[in-house]
């Protein structure tokens, strides 16, 4: 296959991956019988997915547990052998794991560490310098940059095992980025971090993407990660892509309703409220009414005219709940 003329960093076409898993029965006898006659089962982790990512693009990859997000990242970074389909990253076939390819990518997994547990992080950095063949001067500049942005100056020489999760995660990022990868695969980079640490990591990813024009592919359960960072998202479930496009469009397509939140100054009959729109919650004095997007203004003015309203706000449906609906398989009408 020829390299595409446009600046595609990642091309995935009709990619599938299945695993053979042997199931163990319950209890002792189940365990024994599975030794004699293993109960083989095929799990379809990815079914015929296709997408492509441009250079310098930041794409969020979301889906419930076991949807196939991590599997995709692992295939793209050359860890897993695809069952079928075509993948090309920076013009390379990831599986062949060419030196030149590996020098340009980085995979960060929130739950796997590459830092040497018993040694200070700086030792691991030095090792990476040799592995990625980073010239001394470049290494020092990069390290200085990263250390500054991620604020890890004072923990560089502490044994990694003594650090907190948040500190370790930031050092993991330093280790993963010393060689300035053109492509960055991030798997749950904020998992287990507190809100402050999450924000630090997010800001940093955003900066890195902008500054180095690196393509970033990020999976997360954390909606804030996606809302903050990505313009484009790919929603995946049960190994299939449900949506691929801008986050804003997804909201436009799926958020056909807005919520009017009102505080009543006097109790009223719920039935009357239901003439305005669908009452989602009524808990005097608070009431949430869901109304069609285009009728929002009208509904609000009707409420204000006909009911004793103390306060009123109009809100968009939260992105979490939109995505939940995408997962449930609701289609745009």
């Amino acid at each position: 296959m020829e390299k595409q003329p446009s600046q595609k960093a990642i091309i995935v076409e009709h990619l599938s991956k299945n695993f053979e898993v042997s199931e163990k029965g319950k209890g002792f006898f189940g365990g024994v019988s599975s030794l004699i006659k293993p109960n083989k089962k095929t799990i379809w982790a990815l079914r015929d997915i296709s997408f492509s990512i441009e250079e310098g693009e930041l794409v969020g990859f979301i889906g419930p547990n076991g949807a196939g997000k991590t599997t995709t990242l692992k295939i793209l970074s050359g860890l897993l052998y695809p069952s079928s389909g075509f993948t090309q990253v920076l013009g390379f076939d990831p599986w062949s794991r060419k030196r030149e390819y590996l020098k340009q990518i980085s995979l960060v997994m929130g739950q796997k560490n590459q830092l040497w547990w018993d040694l200070p992080a700086i030792d691991s950095f030095e090792l990476n310098r040799a592995i990625y063949e980073i010239p001394k001067k470049v290494f020092e500049d990069n390290l200085k940059d990263l250390v500054e942005i991620l604020e890890v100056e004072d923990i560089l020489n502490t044994q990694v095992r003594r650090l907190s999760l948040g500190q370790r995660m930031r050092l993991e990022l330093v280790a993963a980025l010393l060689h300035k990868p053109k492509i960055l695969f991030l798997d749950e980079p904020t998992i287990g971090l507190d809100v402050v640490a999450q924000q630090k990591v997010r800001d940093f990813i955003f900066e890195y993407n902008k500054k180095y024009k690196a393509a970033v592919m990020l999976t997360s359960h954390n909606m804030d990660d996606l809302i903050d960072l990505t313009k484009r998202i790919i929603v995946i479930d049960k190994g299939e892509i449900l949506y691929d496009g801008s986050l804003k469009e997804l909201v436009d397509i799926f958020a056909k309703e807005k919520t009017i939140k009102a505080y009543l100054s006097k109790d009223v009959d719920v039935k009357k409220l239901e003439e305005i729109g669908e009452v989602r919650r009524f808990n005097y004095p608070q009431v949430h009414i869901s109304v069609p997007r285009e009728a929002t203004a009208l509904a609000a003015s009707e409420l204000l005219q006909n009911f004793p309203i103390a306060d009123l706000t109009i809100e968009e449906e939260p992105i979490e709940s939109i995505i939940r609906r995408v997962f449930r398989g609701e289609r745009k009408t």
Partner: protein
Amino acid sequence: MRKFLKRKFNRYLAVFTISFKQEFAYRLNFIMWRVRNVLQIFVTFFLWNAIFYTQDRVVFGYDRSKILTYVFGLIFIRAIVLSSRSIDVAGDISRGDLNNYLVKPINYFLYWLTRDISSKFLNVIFAVGEAFLLFIILRPPFFLQTNIIQLVTFLCALIFAILIYFILLFMVNSIPFWAPELGWGGHFLVSVVIVEFLSGAMFPIDVLPLVFQKILYLTPFPYLIFFPIEIYLGKIQGLMLVKGLTISLFWIIALWFLMKKIWDKGLKAYQAYGR
């Protein structure tokens, strides 16, 4: 080309350095392990010393000084050949930590070989110290080999032994690609049962029946420990020596190809466990 080799060397030198530092992170563990080694040697020493109590007794072609040299030779060869760190390979695979290495431009096999050499280096330093101490305490009659050919071929056999054992373990440690729970069992089978008994680490192999010896010489195991020591002792010379070196070289190549095949298959079956 030279530049390429130099960069490659630098890469593995860095692995060597960090590996060396890592060994020192577990000082107590290390010391306990050395103590175990010394005790093992004491037991073997007194056993053979008792058998050869009568000064000029010769059993299976060993006199007192040669059997005691054999025992002391064991200290070194064990420290050099059987001190492999690659048990961690099985763990890397079953825990999915192999991911960390696969996504980096580094050869996993050479990575572990380097870590192995680094660990051997440390062991040799300590083994020299221990041997010196034991020598002073026990004052055994010691056989010094002076023939330069025997010494050079001894070194050669030693390097072969290191490679055979390393590749063998690397192969066994790839079992978790298919059966993640079996990593330790396979290692135990090879390193403890087969190697200890068949390599000459427990007793010189030439005390065994001749038929058994002949079969054993076709397997890679006696070349791990017995063969190098016997070269040092001068008990293996000439044609026997050439034949032995050839067979061990054959095993290195054969095992290497087998290991490569297993890894090619294993990586395809690899499920990169752990998120």
